[in-house]
Amino acid sequence: MTRPPSTGHGWASCSDCTSPVHPDDRFCETCGARRPDPRDRVELVADRLGAVSDRGVRHRHNEDAVGIRSVSDGGRGSARITVVCDGVSRGARPDLASQAAVDAALDVLVTGVEDPDTSSRAAVRAASSAVVRLSTRAPVDLPPACTFVSAVVVGRTATVASVGDSRVYWLPRSEGGARPLTVDDSWRHEAVATGSLGEAAAARDRRRHAITAWLGADAAPLDPRVTTVHLDAPGVLVACTDGLWNRLRGPDDLAELVASAPDDPLAVARRLVGEALDRAELDNITAAVIDVPAPTTDTDLPEES
């Protein structure tokens, strides 16, 4: 945070009227403007990882949460981990729900990279418990809830877990082969899968954003979809909330944007989120990017024992 020296130690300046603002104040004492919430725009970077989460224009708070971790385990090499959650706006404190889920899941995933399938399932359970605990603090009609998606890349193997309609895409650098690795727990997906509606009709239906599974006290018993895939080409893995995929038409569209961005995970995340904002997306938007280099890269080889 920039703190103009003229305003004294620790004081910031109001983004609206430029008056000095005490660091503890949430609102400017001069013009009343709410100070930007640190979560309004989150940018994270780690080794071969980058993530951007943006409040967008419709919501008062950024109800999406994102976390990234880069860890090296003792034997098989290093792992890249991300968790992305989208708070359900109809519930209480969706911003707390998504953050609690991300924090709890990351704690589990960083300690279980030797068996990503097992640790991904454990991470979903931990995230679920963390969200349920929020609702026991303040009983309300609609308890806090959120979606969940995690991706763990170890070597050339990706393990993804999802609950709800947040997604992971695999976007290889070469043309073709871009595809989602997750399946939505959503009314739209189920309507199409069961053949009751065509894809175009489902996409226009007012229920298109309704999800059929989530984390929270009022959720159905957990049945996370966990998938492990082999990545045989250089590319990027993108974990995102519906704010991103609402406006970007399918994996090829995304792959094109990635190809046009600098070869850097944070730059790619910025490009994706920026494009969604440019296309007038109103919702919170989050994209986390894991860079998967060409197979020859040394760091993907097992460490010498």
Partner: protein, 470 residues
Amino acid sequence: MTTPSPTPAAAPSPTVVEQEAADRLVLRGRVHQTLHLARDAEEVHAIVSVDAEGAGTAVPDDTPEAAEVIVIDTSTSTTHPAGTDRAIAEAATAAVREMRDGVHFAVLAGTDVVRRVWPTDGGLVPADATSRAQAISALEVTKVGGGTRIGRWLRAAGELLADHPGAIRHTILLTDGRNEHEERATLDLAIEDTKDVMNCDCRGVGDLWRFDELHAVSSAMHGTTRRVADASGLAEDFREMMAASMAKEVPEVALRLWTPVGARVRLVSQSAPEAVDLTARRTDVDEQVGLYPTGAWGGEQRDFHLAIDVPSGHPGQTRHAARVDFVRIWPDDSTTTLDQQFLRRLPTGGEDGKDQAWITATWTDDPDIDTGRAEQVQRAETENRIAEKIRAAMSAVGRGPAAEAEAEDLLRVAREWAVGIGQDELVRQIDELFDPETDTYRPGGPSRAQALDLEIITTWRPVQTRDTEG
């Protein structure tokens, strides 16, 4: 820190007892507002409803000092109808009987001049068995004769009460006639000079007094104006007024308002139960903070309506339009913050509690988001419009057929609105003089008494429904 700046000075403590008295009142409030404004909109409205809980008689040894002056009309007019003068004296007697031990009191008789009924000279006297008996004896031999100069009565009461700074200071003023021996400007000046010294309840006996005169007194002094149909009901009414006054626990409370630089305060009013516009009564603390007097408080419920123009923001931006809390005003004009908490419903369904009422604005372009006024605000605004229509209609009583026809139309509209917001008692009272089938006055037209009653009821409004959740 998010307290209104400047941070209130440390509590001055003239005596230990007074300092403790500040803690006798605990406020719980709620903010009713819609959180969003359309692009370029600047006007923010909110109702702040406050429930005050007093310590009551839980700590009888710690009751705050109280000072009470009773002013009774002894002008010549009180001999008509016969016995009115006696009933007035008996009502004062009932009030004296109700006086708690230790309350400093006096009884004054008002005509063109002010006569001391009890005590006959000196300042206020503490109530005890002896002083109450002496005051009651003095009331038995009250003489009648002379004019009506209410401004002088107020000044006399104010002079006696000025010697008791920091006490709960209250005057009961009773008259049966118009302020006919004094210019209105003289009365207004007397109100101005005494309004900071005391709270005052007014009672009009019969139907020859003027609502606007007594209401000017009571609204400036945080009290009520009521009509007493005949003198026989006075004793009970006086007992109730005394009890209400004795139940006050903090003598002077002000609404403290913080607004952003560049904001304009359109309205600060107590919207219920007694409607009082406080907008013009601001005392500046600084450019952004002002105090609005609300009189003495005990355990009670009140609602306040605020309307603030703030510089508009861009869509997605949130701004504090105002922050409100309540402070005790001490005799040296210093302030201490009362114990208070305000709840606000969040758009996500949760609630947050703060020691100030936060009134915010978030601008939006989204047509699906409600940017209108909160239901509670709309209700308060409707009540104001109803009161305007009724007062305009009643001021036309006795002014000829053209004015009456216009008045009937005003009443028709007022009645429609009152029905719309479920003000059943007001509708019932309108229907006593107005026939909704024909939209005309009932045969014979409204009597003076009916007109007074209708004007009075516009000053009283039910407080907003309290949310019992949580």
